[in-house]
Amino acid sequence: MMKPTEEIVISGFGGQGVLLAGKLLCIAAMRGGRHVSHIPSYGAEMRGGTANCSVVISDEPVASPVVEHPGVVIALNEPSVAKFEPKMRPGGLLIWNSSLVKTPPTRQDLQIVDLDATGISLEEGTERGANMAALGALIALREGFLSLEALDEALDEAVSARNRERNPVNRRILRAGYSAASAA
């Protein structure tokens, strides 16, 4: 039985770790034997606008790495919601960062989940872990997609030796995001 192809956009300010979040998904899925692609947007983005990446995870070879109509969006800041909510496929999952986004998404044909992602991260003493909280929420909401343990291992592979000492914190935020989304 083929698993569905996941077309995911992760978006936020530069520095919120959107590229790393995408890489973690790819590495975890790749270790699970699936085809993956990750591509950053490298256009002329405005300062204070969005940085984003497209991730495709599939049982087939990936055709285009650029996701035009995502089935999953993780929006870590306000411009990300504005940019990607209109592009989403009906029935898609939109996880938005309620700590920073003041204008909630409105579409009726999406599964919309608010997550206090930066708040969850701050409880671990850093504001830079909102990406991890959102990934944890995604794992909780997408049954059978990836496990927390697969992301644990991906963290060790993706993060440079210098930053690996932060992985225990990353893993705690990942789990806090998972719990918050499970409770919702």
């Binding site: 790819c26 590495i27 990750h38 490298y42 256009g43 002329a44 055709a63 650029v66």
Partner: protein, 359 residues
């Protein structure tokens, strides 16, 4: 256990493959969307005792490649479309002097400075040559990060075997995308370079040049080059076919366009339409005889490109009127949409049915 699968950006997979192939002389000037190649080389070359020299311009970089190649070194330069345009004079000189080197073009949209998103608008530049004179370069067209690595290792061997520049022609999407890669092993092939300028102590002097003024000598050289190009054309027409055995409609595409076309083939097959994909992996020499054979059985051919029609000319030359050759292209950094490719072939199918009913 086999070597480990890693997630690598296409540009970085290519750069590491060049190092695996023994490249220790790399010269370049930065340009998006290939900047990960010089960034990677800046980090790795010193670790390996090699040289990455960031030149003052693209012209300087290609001429440094000429010098390193004349000295017998495995050498490479990389750039993107407008940067490759600047290198053409050097490429022509290197071709005339029969020096081996690897050239990488991670294409972006043009003409001129154009944009920074991926495109395939340099097919003519790569396969016809933007430089002067009767010359050809081998042009390889990878379709994913794995092939960016594998073809690069191969490119160094081909360059040395034939004393010719070998170009890796990729688009910006391939360069920027991260995918699963198993890094290739060195091939272990060695090539005697009895023409290289290594210091003439205790041996006769050698000359590497592209200037030939003596009466008849240039034509003799041109004929010698042509003979070489003919033998490459015989030996090196490369391609991959996908579901073409019984295909009524053959899509022809390379690079990212081929990835999208391959998925279109799957969707069309699911809808009962006999589609297939012919993917040239060498653009020069173009696999013309092989495509010609497919065209004898096909109802129509559709060329899909991220340009407004360049490879389609080689497709028409190969098909020689055996069946209609149609074109679908996007330009300026846009990607062909899967649904558009599918709909184009569906339209062919509807037209064929109408045609049969009418006759």
């Amino acid at each position: 256990m086999s070597k480990k699968t890693v997630l690598m950006k296409g540009n970085e997979a290519l750069a590491e493959a060049a190092l695996i192939a023994g490249c220790r002389h790399y010269f370049a000037y930065p340009i998006t969307p290939q900047n990960e190649i010089p960034a990677y080389m800046a980090k790795r070359m010193p670790e390996l005792g090699g040289v990455f020299l960031q030149a003052e311009s693209e012209l300087a970089a290609i001429n440094m490649v000429m010098g390193a190649a004349a000295g017998g070194a495995r050498t490479m330069t990389s750039s993107s479309s407008p940067g490759m345009a600047l290198k053409q004079e050097g490429i022509s000189y290197i071709s005339g002097a029969e020096l081996p080197c690897v050239l990488v073009n991670v294409m972006r949209g043009g003409p001129g400075l154009g944009g920074i998103a991926g495109a395939q608008g340099d097919y003519f530049q790569a396969t016809r040559g933007g430089g002067n004179g009767d010359y050809r370069n081998i042009v390889l067209a990878p379709g994913n990060a794995q092939e960016l690595a594998d073809f690069t290792v191969d490119a160094f061997d081909l360059a040395d075997e034939y004393r010719i520049p070998v170009m890796i022609l990729a688009d910006g999407f391939l360069g920027q995308m991260s995918e699963a890669v198993v890094l290739p092993e060195p091939t272990g092939k060695t090539f005697e370079k009895d023409w290289a300028l290594t210091g003439a102590k205790d041996r006769n002097k050698r000359l590497v040049a592209s200037l030939r003024l003596a009466e008849g000598s240039l034509e003799a050289h041109n004929l010698h080059l042509q003979k070489k190009y003919d033998s490459i054309t015989q030996a090196l027409r490369r391609f991959e076919t996908y579901k073409t055995d019984d295909a009524d409609y053959v899509l022809v595409a390379y690079g990212t366009s081929a990835r999208i076309s391959r998925q279109a083939v799957d969707r069309l097959r699911e809808a009962g339409v006999k589609a297939g994909l012919f993917r040239p992996t060498s653009l020069w020499p173009f696999p013309d005889k092989e495509l010609h054979e497919l065209a004898r059985k096909a109802k129509r051919i559709l060329t899909v490109e991220m340009s407004l029609g360049q490879m389609v000319e080689d497709v028409r030359l190969a098909v020689e009127g055996r069946c209609p050759v149609e074109f679908h292209g996007r330009a300026g950094g846009a990607l062909p949409a899967l649904d558009d490719v599918i709909e184009t072939v569906m339209r062919f199918e509807r037209e064929e049915v109408t045609h049969v009913h009418a006759s």
